[in-house]
Amino acid sequence: MMEDISLHTLDIVENSISAGATLVKIELFIDRERDEFTLTISDNGKGMDGEMVKNIRNPFFTTRTTRKVGLGVSFLDEIAELTGGKLEIASTPGKGTVVSLRLPFSHPDRPPLGDIISTLMTILMTSIDVRFVYRETRNGKEWIFDSSEIMGISDPVFLKQVKDMLYNSYKEFTGGELI
């Protein structure tokens, strides 16, 4: 099972990439005072029609042909239900999809964020033709990573340097606070 938000983020972004997206935006907005934890992932992939958007929350729905059961988005739906949050999916065929998960920050069943840098590195390494932007706003402070500066490079030695740099930069941003 996937126990944190960073893994769900990776899973949803993989959907975007499967849908042919060349640009994926990941936004995480956290505000303790407003008790808000909102994850929004938008892409310019091929999008879905209304029928498909309706079906996508159903755990037995999938676009794959190799296995009959789909799970990704239904996990998010479950988290939303469990915490009194909300999952919204808007999609336009030919334009793209926006998945937005809004959760109460302080709810005990709200999954922890987890290792978001490993998720970003996974996307960077395995989908090197896709530009993605991660923007986190945490209590008024902002941290942004835009892959456009470094996409297209597969050299592991270089990518490891990027990973170390991102870890340090992100740690400076969060002050090591785990949420």
């Binding site: 996937m2 590195m121 996974t122 902002e142 941290w143 942004i144 490079i153 597969s154 030695v157 270089f158």
Partner: protein
């Protein structure tokens, strides 16, 4: 945030040694990144692969991904394709297994037979 500048700097420094994907890499490692792979720990496996390749200063390996191939119970799945050799699919690749696959298979051409799920000629 400073990191954009830092990224540019790292990129410039690395430019001489960087291999773009358009260049032919000798070896390809493909990690299953469907929902099933991610839930089984594929992200940590991938991070271990990155660490191990970088530690050994291996630059001509391309790491990429595939979706669910219907073998969810064997995830995380990792394929290794070396030029001129059959495609080897490893099963249940934990970070520890991944590190050993790099050391044995990638570096020393010794296939880790006990973890092989399938071998595909002419891949």
């Amino acid at each position: 945030m400073k990191s954009l500048e830092d990224l540019k700097r790292i990129r410039e420094q690395a430019q001489a040694q960087i291999r773009m994907r358009t260049q032919e890499a000798n070896t390809k490692i493909i990690v299953g990144m469907g929902t099933c792979g991610i839930a089984a720990g594929a992200r940590d496996t991938l991070m271990a692969i990155l660490d191990e390749l970088a530690k050994r200063n291996i630059q001509d390996v391309v790491v990429t991904q595939t979706g669910c191939v219907g073998l969810c119970e064997y995830e995380p799945l990792v394929n290794v394709i070396k030029s001129g050799q059959p495609k080897i699919t490893y099963m249940k690749v934990s970070p520890e297994r991944a590190r050993q696959i790099i050391a044995s298979h990638i570096v020393n051409d010794q296939i880790m037979n006990e973890w092989v799920l399938s071998t595909e000629e002419g891949a």
